[in-house]
């Protein structure tokens, strides 16, 4: 689904990470690990197509990609349900129920609240709702566990594993030791361009 060969990315004419190569098949989970400053976010942004690799190439056979990063793309001036409804209508998948998604995320009690009133963890959950509203086969998740309580962490694992079981693929960048329990997962320790980490 995603074939990456010798991708590198330079910022200020310095490589951010050592060249990256991997192949990810349907049902595969790739865990990108490494300390702060290793370029995990940069790699995910390259894979998402926001950044153009300085060298190397990659092929992505998924028709579309879903991405949840540090910036959650949630509008403070819209309520939770309005945010989710916009995501759904925007992606053109009208048949999914936003109510069901909110229940799944544990947000049904704050559905009518403006997003600005949410806690960091609740906002994260709301952003993860995007994953439940999309048809995308390839998911790129940048620190999906950040700000979440243990129950939220379990929720992320659940969502990811369901996706993988349905034939999806996922690249997940994480700092911590927590891993979703999935058999065909590989770990990619990212090395910073300077050779540290």
């Amino acid at each position: 689904m995603l074939f990456v060969s010798e991708i590198s990315f330079e910022r200020y004419f310095e490589p951010v990470f050592q060249p990256v190569s991997f192949a990810l098949e349907a049902g595969g989970l790739l865990l990108v690990t490494g300390a702060n400053g290793c370029g995990k976010t940069t790699l995910i942004r390259v894979l998402a197509g926001f950044l153009h690799p300085t060298s190397g190439n990659y092929t992505c056979q998924a028709p579309s990609t879903a991405y949840v990063g540090h910036q959650l793309a949630i509008k403070d001036d819209l309520s939770v349900i309005e945010n989710l409804r916009f995501m759904r209508n925007f992606l053109g998948i009208r048949q999914r129920s936003c109510k069901a998604v909110m229940q799944r995320l544990g947000l049904d009690r704050v559905a009518g609240q403006l997003a600005r009133t949410l806690s960091a963890g609740q906002r994260k959950r709301c952003a993860l709702g995007r994953l439940l509203l999309t048809d995308s086969k390839l998911w790129l998740l940048d620190e999906p566990y950040a700000n979440l309580d243990p129950e939220g962490v379990g929720l992320v694992d659940d969502i990811v594993i369901n996706h993988l079981a349905a034939g999806g693929a996922c690249v997940l960048a994480t700092l911590g030791n927590h891993r979703p329990g999935w058999a065909s997962s590989q770990e990619y320790p990212l090395i910073s361009g300077a050779g540290e980490c």
Binding site: R11, S64, T65
Partner: protein
């Protein structure tokens, strides 16, 4: 093939000889070596032509029967005005290549063109206004040509400002190149609208150059015009070589260049 397949490749097609040449130019060590051979010659030709042109223009050419000696400022003003337009077009053209093929040397050349072009624009404006004092009796008239030059200066300043304001040099160069392209599309519209605005509001327009130019006055002008093109080429390439070295300071080819250039006793 699946139309949804998204491919991201940095390998580029290498078929067309022109495209091949552009890609060769895109390799920093090759560019550095290639331009190093002839950049001294560009400077030399520029110097010779300038001395020759200025001699013919300032000493040999006869004074104008209407304007006297003051018309000689034309030998700076007119070529500078031509250069200011030409460099903008070239800058936008190189910016276009840089945007489409992501060639770093083209980004560098486009961005190094901007200050040179802005300088020529400033020279054209300053000499134009100095020329205007004896002919019009004032330093500034909203003449169509001067106004166009002024707007062009703003366009240059926008490109330079955007390039300097962005943090990452390559991203900044791409953004400024796009702005230059947008400016290029607008430039003819701006030029003609200003010309038309001038006739609309003034009725009669004052022309800077006389209608009849004696060949003895024309030749120095043409020589100066060519000299300034050499100046642009020489200055641009010299600047671009330095920028390349600065950007690639930690790459191996740069180290070789610096070691080659450093005399033994310093090492």
């Amino acid at each position: 093939m699946n139309p949804d397949t998204r491919k991201m490749k940095t390998d580029r097609p290498r078929k067309n000889p022109l495209v091949m040449f552009i890609h060769k130019l895109g390799s920093p060590p090759w560019f550095y070596g290639f331009t190093g051979k002839f950049v001294p010659w560009l400077w030399a030709v520029f110097t010779v032509l300038t001395v020759w042109g200025l001699y013919l223009g300032l000493i040999k050419a006869p004074p104008d029967y209407l304007q006297g000696e003051i018309y000689r400022i034309m030998y700076i003003h007119v070529p500078a005005a031509w250069m200011s337009m030409m460099i903008y077009v070239l800058m936008a053209g190189m910016g276009f290549i840089a945007l489409i093929w992501r060639i770093r040397t083209m980004e560098i050349m486009a961005m190094n063109s901007a200050p040179i072009g802005a300088a020529f624009t400033l020279i054209a404006l300053a000499t134009g206004s100095l020329w205007g004092r004896p002919t019009w009796g004032t330093y500034w008239v909203w003449d169509a040509r001067l106004t166009s030059e002024l707007v062009l200066l703003f366009l240059y300043l926008g490109v330079i400002g955007l390039f300097k304001a962005m943090d990452e040099p390559r991203k900044a160069a791409r953004a400024a190149s796009l702005l230059a392209l947008v400016g290029l599309v607008n430039l003819p519209i701006i030029h003609f609208s200003v010309k038309w605005w001038n006739t609309l509001h003034q009725g009669s327009s004052i022309s800077l150059t006389g209608s009849k130019i004696d060949p003895s006055m024309l030749w120095p002008l043409l020589i100066m015009a060519v000299a300034m093109k050499f100046y642009y080429a020489a200055n641009l390439i010299t600047r671009s070589r330095v920028t390349l070295l600065q950007q690639d300071l930690r790459k191996s080819w740069t180290r070789d260049v610096i070691e080659d250039a450093t005399p033994e006793r310093i090492l």
